[in-house]
Symmetry: C2
Subunit: 376 residues, 2 copies
């Protein structure tokens, strides 16, 4: 059975050959530890790492040494949220957040360290800058917002929220997992203080690498302590960035892949977006023609993430049926984002999520529609 | 200029083709998120991850679900040390520890949470089980020991220390960064509670993956909170292992590489050890014949890590000279392990460290000796 992969917002299914090649070259010829010695091999690896760091910085309008390599976007978000923790402060966030934001926040709340306001989206599916501003309390220190919802594809007005954060002197943390590689971001212009990035989604890199990008004003506590190749005599973690937040041997092959992925993405972003828009438009049109399908994603957005349900059938059952009978890979369940399901009343049913990638086709959408027309 | 790579205890220079191939196959055909959906692609990735987990478990006598994938050995050690933290307790450790152990411990000490006893090695270069036992206080809860020193290659008597930890009901954490892939370990037989592993050294895997292996008695706090693919409705981290300690998307290509690396290592461990022993013996013999060379590694161990100094010359200067003039890559400085240098009185000078790998040759040792004979 041919596989139809519609789970690209988890990890994009297509990895460009240049990304794979870069990783192979790093494993073969750059396997020394970057930044740990002055010899040729270590220096070569370090040069590649720093080149990639500066490429990430350019991509999002940041300063190179304030790009921190992490193992994934979850680690970036944890460093951001736990590292900027203020004892007994207040945090504003949204119902769209992934568990990688909610779980560190609610763990801190459980420990009695913070209060949290979770804002639900308005009727247009958006948490506006006004709504954020109205939620500000005297002890608010952090606003944590998901740029693009991994559940419905809803897009938050990052630029406007950034202005409010600047006005009230609040730290602004953005979860860019679903947006980087698809949308342009500029942390300076958008007043973002902490931007967390996944490499294995829109940038089409492999899994195993992410980034936390910090604004000039941020100094945050490390999550991990260890070897940095700097100030080795000191028993305490050095304060200088990026080393302060990068203890341990870096994942050079994945960083090499990211280096290639950013270049590839630059050339292909428009093509990818066009493809996702046309596929989304087509799917929504065809879904609307089916009976008993409820769509949760807005027909105005069309960014490749479309969630729906078929009558009252459990989304997991639909996903299992599609995979088993048609080889169609979609995600059922809660997509690690429980509060948006509470908002939509789908905590029990979940949602069936289709998320498109560059290699998907209209014919594959037809296959999905054919399969769906037989249920519900 | 031909490169001679003598920095294998940082990262082994040679990566077997089967390891590289496994990573490529994962990038091409297994790029869905493991354990996040029930569809074919996600299930395939999950099966590879679980197969690798069970292989790591077999390698060290553990239970599969108590093998935690981390981004490197430093992360494993941080989860172990910070996750098992007891407020106001006492920790015993050794001067041989890497900063990945010392820095989390001394950070906790700085915060007033723990007291630390750092044991210096005896005249044979060893911290014995007796020395550990004599340091036990009523509030001691953790013993953290480096199995093999990354600076001198000294080997600690893990089995005997394990017995003492069991007798006094202490948590026993072992840093296996330099031993895994070279020595056999069995956490059950050796009473190890938390074993931290690097994949990119002795196992000859790529960078970007490590493991923390826990004994049946351990329950520790997570370092990171986020998506686990389990209990997605819950705003708090699930307690079940391994998910509790594995928030975020796993590095499937690196895990695939580890899967292949363990098989490769099983077939080649004896060959590697034989090679490192003969090279070590030859280097020590040749160094002894040079004037003004002081060797810090024991001639009884011969496990491929040999540190020395040339007269009073800074080890960094020697390393730079060897790299620049002869293309020989060795490590100077403190090797991220400051207290062993304090013990040997080499905090200022550092040590020149040669660490051998499978591809090194006697002729390369001759080159090094030739270069060294011209200085000092």
């Amino acid at each position: 059975m041919k596989i139809i992969y519609f789970d690209n917002s988890s990890t994009t299914g297509y990895k460009p050959q240049c990304v794979i090649n870069a990783s192979v070259v790093a494993m073969k010829y750059l396997s020394a530890n970057p930044g740990r010695a002055g010899h040729t091999m270590s220096t070569r690896a370090a040069m590649l790492v720093e080149k990639t760091r500066s490429k990430v910085a350019s991509l999002v309008g940041a300063v190179s040494e304030r790009v921190i390599f992490t193992s994934n976007c979850t680690e970036a978000l944890n460093i951001a949220i736990l590292g900027s923790l203020k004892l007994h402060g207040h945090v504003i966030t949204t119902a769209y957040e992934h568990n990688s934001v909610l779980r560190p926040l609610f763990e801190m709340k459980k420990q009695g360290l913070i209060d949290i306001t979770v804002l639900r989206p308005n009727n247009f599916g958006v948490v506006t800058a006004d709504m954020i501003e109205r939620a500000v309390k005297p002890n608010t220190y952090l606003v944590a917002v998901n740029h693009i919802s991994n559940v419905t594809g809803a897009v938050m007005p990052i630029t406007e929220i950034g202005k409010i954060c600047k006005k009230h002197n609040l730290i602004f943390s953005v979860d860019g997992a679903q947006s980087i590689g698809y949308q342009q971001l500029d942390i300076k212009e958008q007043n973002i203080d902490m931007l967390s990035i996944a490499a294995h989604k829109g940038l089409h890199c492999c899994q195993g690498i992410g980034c936390l990008v910090l604004s000039d004003k941020m100094y945050i506590k490390p999550l991990k302590y260890g070897g940095t190749g700097t100030e080795s005599y000191s028993l305490l973690q050095p304060r200088e960035l990026p080393e302060a937040l990068e203890a341990g041997t870096l994942a050079t092959p994945a960083i090499a892949a990211l280096n290639a992925a950013i270049d590839w993405n630059k050339e292909n972003m428009f093509k990818i977006r066009t493809k996702l828009t046309s596929l989304s438009m087509y799917l929504i049109e065809r879904l609307n023609a089916l009976k008993k399908i409820k769509i949760y994603s807005s027909a105005d957005i069309l960014n490749g993430i479309i969630s729906f349900n078929a009558a009252d059938i459990s989304s997991q059952d639909v996903a299992n049926y599609l995979s088993k009978e048609y080889g169609i890979c979609v995600r059922g369940g809660l997509h690690c984002a429980p509060l948006v399901h509470k908002h939509f009343g789908t905590t029990k049913q979940g949602m069936v999520r289709v998320s498109f990638g560059l290699e998907n086709t209209m014919e594959e959408v037809d296959e999905l529609i054919k399969a769906l027309s037989k249920i519900g």
